[in-house]
């Protein structure tokens, strides 16, 4: 049996157990994905307390609506989608949603497609005057201040490590759209960290 087939069978069995309301299956899935879901919500909301409430309510809601899960995506994507939608609703309700402004890439090039000015920031493979620890702190801080549309794809891809299929299902977007959004988000993060 291929690994994928085995995984598929395990997932099907697990979903049946979840739909049957088996508490051991729920405990298992919460233990496996819960901490990462909470971390994701906390970084999206920027508020740990609210994130806990959002995740609690989302998971309870998932318990009530698991009968509607049709297996077109993984259970992991389904969980992320629920938490993501609740987090975005809460961010919008609080009027804290940060829209993506002008694409940073628009400002770099002239009409001929060449650099308008020299590329800002450090030169060479290793940043001068910046050790990796300080740079990592900066990346973390800047990620938490990116517009939400950038932040969500970076968190899911780079931090949570979801694959393309899982992210597309969680955010209800196409792979082509994700590819563009990932690039813009990474470019925005680079600009924020480098300062230009």
């Amino acid at each position: 049996m291929h690994g994928n087939d085995r995984h598929q069978r395990q997932e099907t069995g697990q979903v049946e157990a979840l739909k049957a309301g088996e508490s051991s299956a729920w405990k298992d899935i919460l233990a496996r994905h819960g901490p990462a879901l909470l971390a994701y919500a906390a970084r999206m909301l920027g508020d740990r307390g609210t994130a806990e409430e959002i995740v609690q309510d989302s998971l309870v809601n998932i318990y009530h609506t698991i009968g509607r899960f049709d297996g077109r995506c993984s259970i992991k994507s389904w969980l992320y989608r629920a938490v993501h939608n609740s987090a975005i609703d809460e961010i919008r309700r609080r009027r804290r949603y940060v829209d993506v402004g002008t694409d940073v890439l628009d400002n770099y090039f002239n009409e001929a497609g060449r650099w308008e000015h020299d590329c800002p920031g450090w030169d060479g493979p290793v940043p001068k005057r910046l050790d990796e620890k300080r740079l990592l702190t900066s990346v973390r801080e800047q990620m938490d201040h990116l517009p939400h549309a950038h932040r969500e794809v970076l968190l899911l891809k780079e931090v949570e490590g979801l694959d393309t299929e899982e992210i597309c299902a969680a955010l209800a977007i196409s792979p082509g759209n994700l590819r563009i959004r990932i690039h813009r988000a990474r470019a925005a993060l680079r600009a924020a960290v480098v300062g230009g």
């Binding site: 909470l38 740079l135 973390r140 990474r186």
Partner: protein, 81 residues
């Protein structure tokens, strides 16, 4: 070989890093980098920041999921939510 403009090169970086670019695109991309200091610099910065973004995880994972778990499992086991 078709020449890539700097703006094209920058737009291909994510595909290159994620291993999604074709061989021809990779050859044009790296050929351009050899000649263009600005694109080379941008690529290095982008790559470093992308790699560091992937290291944000570990020390940020919440330690106290337990009481969220307890809340949800109480709702599930009591079926009173």
């Amino acid at each position: 070989m078709v020449y890539l403009k700097c703006s094209n090169v920058v737009s291909k970086i994510s595909e290159i890093i994620d291993g999604q670019a074709s061989l021809m695109t990779r050859m044009r991309f790296h050929g351009h980098l050899m000649m263009c200091n600005n694109c080379r610099r941008y690529f290095e910065q982008y790559k470093i920041v992308k790699e560091l973004a992937g290291k944000v995880t570990a020390d940020d994972l919440p330690e106290d999921f337990d009481h969220v778990m307890e809340f949800v499992m109480n709702k599930i086991e009591n079926k009173d939510a």
